[in-house]
Structures are given as structure tokens and as C-alpha cells.
């Protein structure tokens, strides 16, 4: 029988059990790295660095985890904080924000304007469209749909009010709808 996250956390807290912490990392690394890859616009090396920092912070602050949210939600919150810190540090040299220019919104995304065939193309265009969203909206959308979190859980992870998450999701979907207009069924 495999141990639950809470069992593993208890072992780490009580005995400083490295194997237990390793198991927690193995279980959640894909979700954390996937989230950060989405936020960094596919910069895998940077995303993995931030994911490492995320788990190191989680190890240091494990005593603060109260268990009122899922461990994965707590981790994703830490990951988001690391992402925001990195973005603040690198803002002058790297363009992180994916704000969609107004004229592009009006005209529809270029990639979507030329309809491609097949699910792969649609997925590619969706990824391109997601990369253009503001990071807060992209994060909210990813947590709610790719990770299957509720709005409340996403709000807890992102450290913002529930209403803000709902607004982010609504706005993001509206932008995606425009960007992917070419894919809409006739």
C-alpha cells in the first residue's frame, strides 16, 4: 500500500526522512514543472530551476504546511511565487508578460488566422495563444483546467481573492476565444 502525501509529510517532519521527501518530489514534479513551463513560455531550463527552488522552499517550510489545502496546491502556490520573483528580477532583460496587443485581439491571432488541420495544429495554436496571455490569467487558466483545481483552490495557490481568479479565467477565455476564432466551427 502506498503512503499518502500526509504520511510522507509527517515522516519528513518527524524524522527528516529524505526518502519520504524524495517520494513527494517524484509525485509532484511533473505538475510543478508543467505549470512553470507554461508560465515561462516553454523555457524548460528556467522552469526546472524554478521547480527545484520550489521543492527546496517546500522542504524548508514544510512545518508551515497546515494541510488545509492539498499538498499539490500548496506546492503550486510556492511555484507561482518563485515565478513572480524571477520575473521581477529579470524583467528588464526578458519579456515575460504575454499581454495581447489590442490590435491583435481585434484581428485574431495570426497563427489562428490561417486554419491548420488536425489536433496537433490546434494544440500548437492553443499553446501559442496561451503564451500570449498575461501570466496571471495564464496561471489561473492552467490551474483550473490543466490541473483541475477549483476556483477556490486556484485562488489559494495564487494567493489572490476568489473573485480575481474568476475574473482572470473569464478574461483569459474571452481572449482565447478571439485568438482561436479561426478554429471555431462554421
Amino acid at each position: 500500500m502506498s503512503l499518502t502525501d500526509h504520511d510522507l509529510i509527517a515522516r519528513v517532519r518527524l524524522d527528516d526522512d529524505r526518502h519520504a521527501f524524495g517520494e513527494l518530489v517524484r509525485r509532484h514534479q511533473s505538475a510543478v514543472r508543467g505549470f512553470l513551463r507554461r508560465l515561462t513560455g516553454g523555457r524548460h531550463a528556467l522552469a526546472d530551476d524554478l521547480a527545484q527552488e520550489t521543492f527546496l522552499s517546500a522542504y524548508r517550510d514544510l512545518a508551515r504546511y497546515r494541510g488545509d489545502a492539498a499538498f499539490s496546491t500548496w506546492l503550486l502556490g510556492i511555484a507561482y511565487n518563485h515565478f513572480r520573483s524571477a520575473r521581477r528580477r529579470e524583467r528588464p532583460s526578458v519579456e515575460w508578460t504575454g499581454e495581447v496587443p489590442a490590435e491583435e485581439l481585434a484581428a485574431g491571432h495570426e497563427a489562428a488566422a490561417a486554419p491548420a488541420t488536425g489536433a496537433v495544429d490546434l494544440r500548437h495554436d492553443l499553446a501559442a495563444a496561451l503564451a500570449q496571455l498575461p501570466r496571471d490569467e495564464c496561471a489561473a487558466l492552467h490551474l483550473c483546467y490543466a490541473e483541475g483545481l477549483t476556483h477556490e483552490e486556484a485562488a489559494a495557490a495564487l494567493g489572490c481573492p476568489l473573485g480575481t481568479v474568476k475574473t482572470h479565467v473569464l478574461r483569459a477565455k474571452e481572449k482565447l476565444r478571439r485568438l482561436l476564432r479561426a478554429w471555431a466551427p462554421a
Binding site: D16, D48, Q52, R123, G148, L176, L180, A184
Partner: protein, 128 residues
């Protein structure tokens, strides 16, 4: 004036919404293979509690000894002389207590040693 609700438009929008949501769920990133990631994280963890405890004991003990030694060196030959005198006096008078020199020196060295040990402890806690 608000336009009248159009059920057809609402249905179309709801369908579009469902389609987009399904698309977003399907676009969730594939499972990312660990490929040494966990090992990398474990390799960067701070030293274990037992190791930190041992290291702290060594630091505190070492700092205490160093503090006492430094205090003795800084006090110079006078301290050695006073110490010798105190030891000689002790040898002469058997178990009788040293009037004040030995006590004062012992106390001073004890204070310095404790202060050094406390500093060592504080430093080791901060280093963790």
C-alpha cells in the same frame, strides 16, 4: 437599453465555452519524466538534522576552547604568572581555597568561553 436575451446566441456561446474548456483540459501538459530531477533536488537539500547537530556541537565546543585560549593569550605572561602563583599557593595550602586570583581568572575565562560558545551556537543556527 439592454438588448433582449437571445436564446440562440446564449446556446451558441455556452457550446463554444464547453468546447474551449474541453480543449484546455485536453491541452494539459503531458507527464514530464523525472529524468534526474528528484535526485537534483535531494542533492541540494541542506544537511540532515543529525549532521547539523554534530556540526553544531563541534562548533560550540571549538568556539569555547578557542575563546578560552584567546583570552589566555591576550592576558599575556601575567596570566601565566598569576596562574602559576595560584597553583603554587594551592600546592602549599592543600585544599584551602585560593583567595581571589584563581577565582577571578577562572571566572573570566569561563565567561569568555561561554560567550565564544554562544557566538558559535548562534552562527551555526544562522548557517542552518
Amino acid at each position: 437599453m439592454n438588448p433582449l436575451p437571445n436564446p440562440e446566441n446564449d446556446d451558441a456561446r455556452a457550446a463554444e465555452d464547453r468546447r474551449l474548456e474541453a480543449l484546455l483540459r485536453a491541452a494539459a501538459p503531458d507527464y514530464i519524466d523525472d529524468a534526474g530531477f528528484t535526485a537534483g533536488v535531494l542533492g541540494r537539500l541542506p544537511a540532515s538534522r543529525a549532521v547539523r547537530h554534530r556540526r553544531r556541537l563541534w562548533l560550540v565546543g571549538g568556539a569555547g576552547v578557542l575563546g578560552v585560549a584567546a583570552a589566555a593569550v591576550l592576558a599575556g605572561p601575567a596570566l601565566v604568572e598569576q596562574g602559576s602563583a595560584a597553583l603554587g599557593w594551592l600546592a602549599e595550602h592543600g585544599q584551602r581555597p585560593v583567595p581571589y586570583v584563581g577565582d577571578a581568572l577562572s571566572l573570566a575565562l569561563l565567561v569568555v568561553g561561554c560567550a565564544a560558545a554562544a557566538l558559535g551556537w548562534r552562527w551555526s543556527v544562522r548557517a542552518d
